[in-house]
Amino acid sequence: MAPGILGKKVGMTQVYLEDGTAVPVTVIQAGPCHVLQVRTVERDGYEAVQLGFGDKPRRLAARSERGHVAKLDSKGQKKRAAAGVEPLPKADCEPQRFIREFRGSSDLEVGATVGVDSFAEVKAVDVVGTSKGRGYSGVMKRHNFAGQRATHGVKKVHRHAGGTGASAYPSRVFKGRRMAGQYGNARITMRNLQLVKVDTENHLMLVRGAVPGPNGGYVIVSQTNKVG
């Protein structure tokens, strides 16, 4: 069982169950992911596996990105070989577009691939994505404030919040007061989404409900850590 998998949000649709209920699903194209690196306590101080998803053309990848996935000849490497340092294992794949680490120990080795088939037995997943950016938004859009009235003496503050607190005491605005500001483009986790179907052949996962981010956005899928 892989600790997680990386993927891409394809879009939303609906599927019918056998009893005729329509289920809203998000289609996620997940894997196959290459294991690029395995972090160990001895070398890195923590345990994790690093997965990569989506090939990047070599001409667009930096040398460091290319060297991360395959063996490149370099001066430093020759020096290290001369000094007798063991070279790190490489996955020997194309440079990857989306790379993330999953903490925790696992039996995966560098060069292995993680596919959706490792989620065949999983009932529910957590999905992490970057939500759609809405820029600097007012309180009505960002926090669903009601705004103020259109008439009855309201001047130019129709979409403003009302007061932000009391006056002489405390003479300041309490922390956490909801105000206008950057909305969206943040890392969002949707927990405990039911896994409706896993299509091993086409590397697709159908997850019930919505997933943060635009179609084509990258997502991290892992088995849910929610109990019960």
């Binding site: 009893d19 005729g20 289609v27 299509d199 179609n215």
Partner: protein, 117 residues
């Protein structure tokens, strides 16, 4: 690419035996209804006034007059709960949505028949 993947997901949910029908047609929609643990078929007949959506999400709206009151039902075209759609009559219509029928009563609701052939 993503369009093709979506089509791939929707493909198994599409019905193959959906008869070709258009907006303005009079249809009988056979729906499966579960009463307790018994299943029976209910027929809703009326005029198709709209079709919306695409792929497995396609829906159609049927309007009929029941006891002088207009009743509309919106069905998912590919739902397994719809066992059959029968086309009874076709009409000449010049628009995709017949929402103007909602404002009409009595004889004005009638549509001109289109002979298929």
């Amino acid at each position: 690419m993503s369009q093709q993947l979506m089509a791939l997901v929707e493909q198994p949910n599409l019905k193959e035996d959906v008869p070709p029908f258009e907006v303005g047609d009079t249809v009988d929609v056979h729906t499966k209804i579960l009463e307790g643990d018994k299943e029976r078929i209910q027929i809703f007949s009326g005029t198709v006034i709209a079709r919306s959506g695409s792929g497995s999400r396609e829906m159609f709206t049927v309007r009929r007059i029941v006891a002088g009151e207009g009743v509309e039902r919106k069905f998912p075209l590919h739902s397994p709960r719809i066992s059959k759609i029968e086309v009874k009559r076709s009409s000449v219509v010049r628009r995709a949505k017949l929402y103007f029928l909602r404002d009409r009563v009595g004889k004005a609701v009638r549509l001109k028949e289109r002979r298929r052939g």
